[in-house]
């Protein structure tokens, strides 16, 4: 395996990078504040319609799956249920930002619910995701780089069934429940939050134990087919969507237009993915709730690279890029900015230490 940069999280934040973020700053497309104020408005009604429809689909598909168990019809029925269940991951993401509902307590209550569904311990993952926004694809600082170079394609494929994520969760949670905070976690969760993180990790372990107990009592795997296992058997669509966010693109650069992707998707996929296909827009203006991202996209489109036409076009690029990166980790898919777009300037964060060949 070729080694290039060291993607392990650094224990300390690098002052050179912090200075670059504070000084040069992340590029943001020009948008009048008045217009941005309209776009960041939260609307309880729109959010409630989206979440109620999702929960209704979950219950309905779950009922069909239950009715077909244990016939062969249960296979497609549970696949549909699993895909809808895993939409919880993109909803978790929105709720972690606290942006869908104007009523914050609703965001927080649903955040705890979908955290349980997705096995994302709410404290650790909130801090991890905050760091991802501060240091998007900055090597050694972003804890959520899904496709380090050179890529490990077999590992990436395991993500289709959440196996990669699950292994990481088992490793981290088994340490945290014992009060042992792994170094990488300690680098982004402040110490004041550790007791709450340990508390929630223990709730998660109790939750998993309750699922197992339910299976033992029922004498069947059926309870876990509804809660827990869908994370494995139904995650393929969400993973396929989410892997497009940054894979194969530039890194160590303070310009989301060059390190993130916006992919056009059909309305069903956008519903399931909670509009996270507008990923450049989300990173540039994370205060904007998911239902306003299409409008934000229209607003700043002329300042951004052309969006990808769909998952097909996106994966053509990702496959060819990752394949080439196996042998040449310096290679990445270059995004082309429109001629009228704001210049990226000297937004490359160059830490010579990262460039060392290990």
């Amino acid at each position: 395996m070729i080694k290039w940069k060291n993607y392990a999280l650094r224990a300390e934040r690098d002052p050179r990078i912090e200075n670059a973020i504070d000084g040069i700053g992340w590029y943001t497309s020009p948008i009048p504040r008045k217009r941005l104020k309209e776009l960041v408005r939260r609307d309880n009604g729109r959010a409630a319609r989206h979440f109620l429809l999702w929960l209704a689909l979950l219950v309905a598909s779950g009922a069909v799956a239950y009715a077909t168990w244990p016939t062969l019809w249960a296979i497609p029925a549970f696949l549909v249920y699993g895909v809808i269940y895993n939409s919880a991951d993109s909803k978790w993401h929105e709720l972690s930002h606290g942006t869908p509902f104007r009523s914050h307590w609703v965001n927080e209550s649903l955040y705890r619910l979908v955290s349980l569904m997705t096995f994302r311990e709410p404290i650790r993952w909130r801090w991890s995701h905050s760091r991802h926004h501060t240091h998007t694809i900055l090597v050694g600082h972003d804890p959520e780089i899904a496709s380090p170079r050179p890529p490990h394609i077999a590992l990436a494929l395991l993500g289709l069934w959440y196996l990669r994520g699950a292994l990481g969760e088992v490793r981290t949670t088994s340490a945290v429940v014992r009060g042992r905070i792994p170094a990488d976690v300690a680098s982004f969760v402040p110490e004041s939050q550790w007791p709450e993180m340990v508390y929630w990790s223990r709730i998660f372990v109790a939750f998993i134990a309750a699922i197992v107990l339910a299976c033992v009592i029922a004498g069947s795997i059926l309870p876990a087919m509804f809660v827990g296992l869908p994370r494995l058997y139904g995650s393929f669509l969400h993973y396929t969507q989410a892997f497009t966010q940054h894979a194969g693109l530039d890194e160590d650069i303070l310009d989301h237009r060059l390190s993130s992707r916006t992919v056009l998707m059909n309305p069903v996929f956008r519903f399931l993915y909670t509009n996270m296909n507008y990923h450049i827009e989300h990173h540039m203006f994370p205060m904007v709730p998911f239902y306003n991202l299409p409008e934000l996209h229209a607003e700043i489109q002329s300042d951004c690279p052309a969006p990808y036409a769909g998952l097909g076009a996106t994966y053509t690029e990702i496959f060819t890029t990752l394949w080439r990166q196996r042998l040449d980790p310096t290679y990445y898919a270059r995004r082309v900015l429109p001629e009228t777009a704001g210049a990226s300037g000297d937004q490359r964060v160059m830490d010579p230490d990262f460039r060392k060949v290990a």
Binding site: D22, K37, G98, H104, R126, S130, T134, F285, P286, M287
Partner: protein, 105 residues
């Protein structure tokens, strides 16, 4: 007791919005909630020292643009992660249509 410092006309701050100003080398925000409350708070987020002037107000909550950390404008307390430390607030009044503050050290 320190003097009242004149900041701006009340009309210069929209409802549920902020007005950035500097004094003595420090950054502050005058903010208006959705029911005529006016508040002055520190202008940098307690989490990563980001300019809160790029954030927005929802009701009486000021939200940070970087990670959507939330502060209650009335007392500066954090009311939504990932902020853990409150914002400093300052005595504020509206006098003859002008927003004024006491920036007590």
């Amino acid at each position: 007791m320190s003097d009242w410092i004149d900041i701006c006309a009340l009309g210069e701050i929209e409802e549920e919005d902020v007005h950035r100003f500097e004094h003595g080398g420090a950054v502050y925000l005058a903010a208006r909630d959705d029911c005529d409350g006016v508040f002055v708070v520190d202008g940098l987020c307690t989490h990563e020292k980001v300019e809160l002037a790029n954030g927005f107000v929802f009701g009486c909550v000021l939200e940070c643009p970087r990670h959507q950390g939330r502060f209650d404008l009335r007392d500066g307390r954090p009311c939504g992660g990932p902020v853990t430390e409150g914002l400093k607030t300052y005595p504020t009044r509206v006098q003859a249509g002008r927003v004024q503050v006491q920036l007590i050290a």
